[in-house]
Subunit: 336 residues, 2 copies
């Protein structure tokens, strides 16, 4: 079996040239004159990661026969918005490590991380104003608004163990899947027209993105930080009750529910003692069997992905379309 990252490179093969151009543009955007800023952008360039969202823009363009000279710039702007959200997410989550590199809030501090995220948003919007069409500015500013609304809603629903799956998905969708959807929509539509194809590809991206977030939430409660490459257990620390836990809680006895709530809410010292210093997620795992909930959540991610793949049926055969299909499997099987 091929390792996940080698598989991703194969998937990205049909748009390798566009991705290379996207990376050049991104490097130029991060090369700010201010030495203080350049230090930080140089640091976050090491997060680089999978560039899944940029790949989606380019693949959606190729697969729909709508690939323009500006698609790499559009993909670059999508990645910059993503980078901005990562930098702010790490502040919000109090995370320390991302893709085996120290987070900005850890390497510098929260203040600087807030500002660097703002800088990345501004830089992304500034680049979008240089494109020939305003579609990119419009779609991505609206997507960013929805991402923020989703994050704020999530923040106010912390410690809500009674949340419905619908509410959970609306929040996870807004905060994560929106950008996947926008990336695909822009690929299919930019610079204009093809509204039906754009709506279809936006739905494809949204469903894949929601599946991605559900898997992320599973990894956060049961994943191994060594394999995942970032700190896990953050959701439990932060009071975010995600699908595998909601499912487990809904089916638990009153006594078990109380133990689950305790894992989220006991004072830090009590958690320290109960979990021998291994944190709330460890305590949560010890007080209930999360496996069935994780299985349920993974099944839901699979269902979403299958729905997404059906949306590709209208597209003609191409390497790019094959890659979009394979991406579904890639997202489902990820354990990083």
């Amino acid at each position: 079996m091929t390792a996940p990252d080698a598989r991703l490179v194969l998937l990205q093969e049909p748009v390798a040239e566009g991705l290379e151009r996207m990376r050049e543009l991104l490097a130029g955007q991060l090369d700010e004159a201010s030495p203080a800023v350049r230090d930080m952008t140089g640091h976050i360039a090491r997060f680089r990661g999978k560039q899944l969202r940029a790949s989606l823009t380019l693949l959606a363009g190729e697969a729909g026969g709508n690939s323009t000279d500006e698609h790499p710039a559009v993909a670059c702007i999508v990645e910059m918005i993503h980078l901005a959200t990562l930098v702010h997410d790490d502040v919000l989550d109090g995370a320390t490590v991302r893709r085996r590199v120290a987070c900005v809030n850890e390497r510098w501090d929260n203040q600087v991380a807030v500002l660097l995220g703002d800088f990345l948003y501004a830089r992304a919007f500034a680049l979008s104003t240089e494109l020939s069409s305003r579609m990119c500015s419009r779609v991505l500013s609206e997507a960013t608004r929805r991402i923020c609304v989703g994050e704020i809603e999530q923040s106010t629903r912390r410690y809500d163990f009674e949340m419905s799956q619908g509410d959970y998905e609306a929040i996870a969708g807004a905060k994560t899947a929106t950008l996947y959807g926008a990336a695909c929509e822009l690929g299919a539509c930019y610079p204009s027209g093809n509204e039906e194809g754009g709506a279809r590809m936006r739905a494809f991206g949204y469903e894949i993105g929601l599946a991605f977030q559900i898997i992320d939430d599973c990894l956060d409660v049961v994943g191994n930080p060594e394999v995942v490459g970032k700190s896990v257990g953050n959701d439990v620390e932060d009071g975010k009750v995600t699908l595998p836990v909601l499912w487990t809680y809904a089916r638990a006895s009153e006594a078990a529910r109380s133990r689950i709530r305790d894992a989220y809410t006991l004072p830090a010292e009590a958690v320290e003692e109960a979990a021998s210093g291994r944190g709330r997620a460890e305590l949560l795992r010890s007080v209930c069997d999360l496996e069935p909930g994780v299985e349920y959540a993974l099944a839901r991610a699979g269902e979403l992905t299958r729905g997404a793949l059906e949306r590709l049926e209208g597209l003609g055969a191409s390497q790019a379309r094959d890659a979009l299909e394979a991406l579904g499997g890639y997202v489902l099987e990820r354990r990083w």
Copy 2:
């Protein structure tokens, strides 16, 4: 003598109608469907404040004979960017009160304040993409980038008592005066053309904005929180060495310098004891005479304002031009 706010209303008189329209637009922008977000935007609407930047856009348009139906929307976007920077600034400064209203980070928490600032930026950029010209998106995304760079530079220069006045002004200018400059430039130029007039009005706004920031920095070290309407002493707490202190430090004996540094850097308990619990700014005031430094800084603000007013000479006579001139005096005399 007229009270400051009554004076401001007079200055805003020539654009009262445009400001009213701007406020309606702003209220619509803050009325988000998400109840969690609406709670917060309803709260920050109480910051309202002086809407100086929006007034500058409208006055610069009127004074230059360049007032369009879209100017209130441009002014609204300028105010939203300003609101976003306020919300994030309060997180960065750990401030608790703004315009006699609790800061978002205080009423909710830092997480939500970061997200709400992001939301406001995104909402502002989204609105700018609906205008007939792209100039507003372009000027304001670039201005936002420069604001962030200035803030990051400032953050890395904390506790730098040897900073030159030039470096101080470059940072204060980037973080504050940039938006004043952009507000005036857009007023004079939007939707296109009039580059010379735009550059002149940008310089006017920049100089007024820098004067405003210098006065703000003076108020933070010697102002009365009851009069200023927000917490003071934040710069000293946060290690920001501003013009009145830089001037004082440069002229102080080695022993006095050491006491000044101590006021910024001693452990909190030692400050508590030395200043009888009244904080670092009080300790700073007790170890050196800041008055001459404050006088120097205020004189510099006056010089900047006079330079700004000279830039108005090319404009024909109008109520709006008179108001722009009077604004200089208003900024200089403010003690709020």
